[in-house]
Amino acid sequence: MTLTVNGERIPLRLDTRTTLLDALREHLGLTGSKKGCDHGQCGACTVLIDGRRANSCLALAVAHDDAEITTIEGLANGELHPLQRAFVEHDAFQCGYCTPGQICSAVGMLGEVRAEGAELDEATVRDRMSGNICRCGAYVNIVPAILDAAR
């Protein structure tokens, strides 16, 4: 099978049981995407599959043959992605473990809200980001960071 990861086309030979998350971390050495719960509940593994945010821990790699995957390692383009910069400016983390998932999820979420033409306020951000848990409880800075980056 083949994955395009952060713009690079990569042929892979994997056991069918391999999740996209394990393919990224264990086979491609991209350890930015984190394994938290491994059951789709914490969002630490969130990546963009064909531009859409998804839990890579519940995605079988083989089911995403030919997909374009963007991980936290692929977001910066010479300079930090606006969401990465906003997270730094707002100090939107403590331990940082959930941060790659939070940022990838926020990139996808802002795209979804834009496509719907929905209003983006604090309540919407909190609701639409509920798939990303921060055990340090840095939400008070995560939410303003996302709102700031959306502007």
């Binding site: 491994d38 945010r53 998804a54 839990n55 995605a59 996808g108 719907e116």
Partner: protein, 316 residues
């Protein structure tokens, strides 16, 4: 996870043929892959049906046809769904998380399994997972489980929000073999809790059809936290009022039974009645008279009653 063979179907016939040979359908995998990791299910062969043709199509009668592979977020955001069926869009957005909704499909959502703790834990008995092994939920942790239609064998609830909205919309499920009303797709546990639906082995859901909707509609979900949690109780309602009287009412409850619970008693009480808070309350009482709560879930009856009233009042 046990080893399995994987194949990808190009069309429904190919998928059905694979299933006839023993393959399990794979949609977005958000529930199935999780259950495989937990060892709750151990399919030897998966046939991926996510790349079957699937779209949201406008029907000539003003209804919509939704392909089974349409992802939950795409369906929720579709302009025709948001315009014609607010209850459907609201129910979808109340389910799971943004990243799960991008994976989960329409067909897969309907066929997801209960989140009963005992079903999810292969070290525990469970009549749904291992028929005849018993039901620890009856005396154990059942605060999230059924108050309506349960049996001695099983007190599980169906977790889908989408299915509850579709029940209130009188949707039709199209399979590889037949068409059936959504309210007949899922079943009560009875003596066969291992069967969630009436589908035969290898029968594939290919689409869901929505009849045109006259009236206002809404979905309200009550849960332990504000977002990303299963329903304690949810209510999907369609209401049309003419000259102060209820001309059409369709009401479905989620989180209370083994299937989306169409509140037919309440509907009957309301048809033709004055569209007032008082008749809504009386109808909710009629419906919930049949509730039989377990030791720790009696609170659901109160929430269901209040949520029915609240949703209908909001639709006035």
């Amino acid at each position: 996870m046990k080893a399995f063979a994987y194949e990808r179907a190009r069309d429904a016939d190919e998928a059905v043929r694979a299933a006839a040979a023993g393959a399990t359908f794979l949609g977005g995998g958000t529930n199935l892959v999780d259950l495989m990791k937990l060892g709750v299910v151990e399919p030897e062969r998966l046939v991926d049906v996510t790349r079957l043709p699937g779209a949201v199509e406008d029907l000539p009668d003003g209804g919509l046809r939704v392909g089974a592979s349409v992802r939950n977020n795409d369906l929720a955001a579709h302009p025709l769904v948001r315009e014609r069926y607010p209850v459907l869009s609201q129910a979808l957005l109340a389910g799971a998380s943004g990243q799960l909704r991008n994976l989960a499909t329409t067909g897969g959502n309907l066929l997801q399994r209960t989140r009963c703790l005992y079903f999810m834990d292969p070290t525990k008995p469970c009549n749904k997972r291992r028929p005849g092994s018993g039901c620890p939920a009856r005396e154990g942790e059942h605060s999230q489980l059924a108050i309506l239609g349960w049996s001695e064998q099983c007190v599980a609830t169906h977790p889908s929000d989408l299915a509850v909205a579709l029940a209130a919309l009188d949707a039709t499920v199209v399979t590889s073999a037949r068409r059936l009303p959504i309210v007949e797709l899922h079943r009560l546990p009875g003596d066969e809790p291992e069967r969630d639906t009436v589908l035969e082995p290898g029968e594939l859901i290919t689409a869901v059809e929505l009849p045109p909707l006259a009236g206002r509609s809404a979905y309200r979900k009550v849960r332990d936290r504000a977002s990303f949690a299963f329903a304690l109780v949810s209510v999907a309602a369609v209401l049309r009022v003419e000259d102060g009287r209820v001309a059409d009412i369709r009401l479905a409850l989620g989180g209370v039974a083994h299937k989306p619970w169409r509140a037919t008693r309440a509907e009957e009480a309301l048809r033709g009645a004055a569209a007032t808070a008082e008749s809504f309350a009386a109808a909710a009482d009629d419906e919930l008279e049949q509730a039989r709560s377990l030791r720790d879930n009696g609170y659901k009856t109160t929430i269901a009653r209040n949520t029915i009233r609240r949703v209908l009042e909001e639709l006035l």
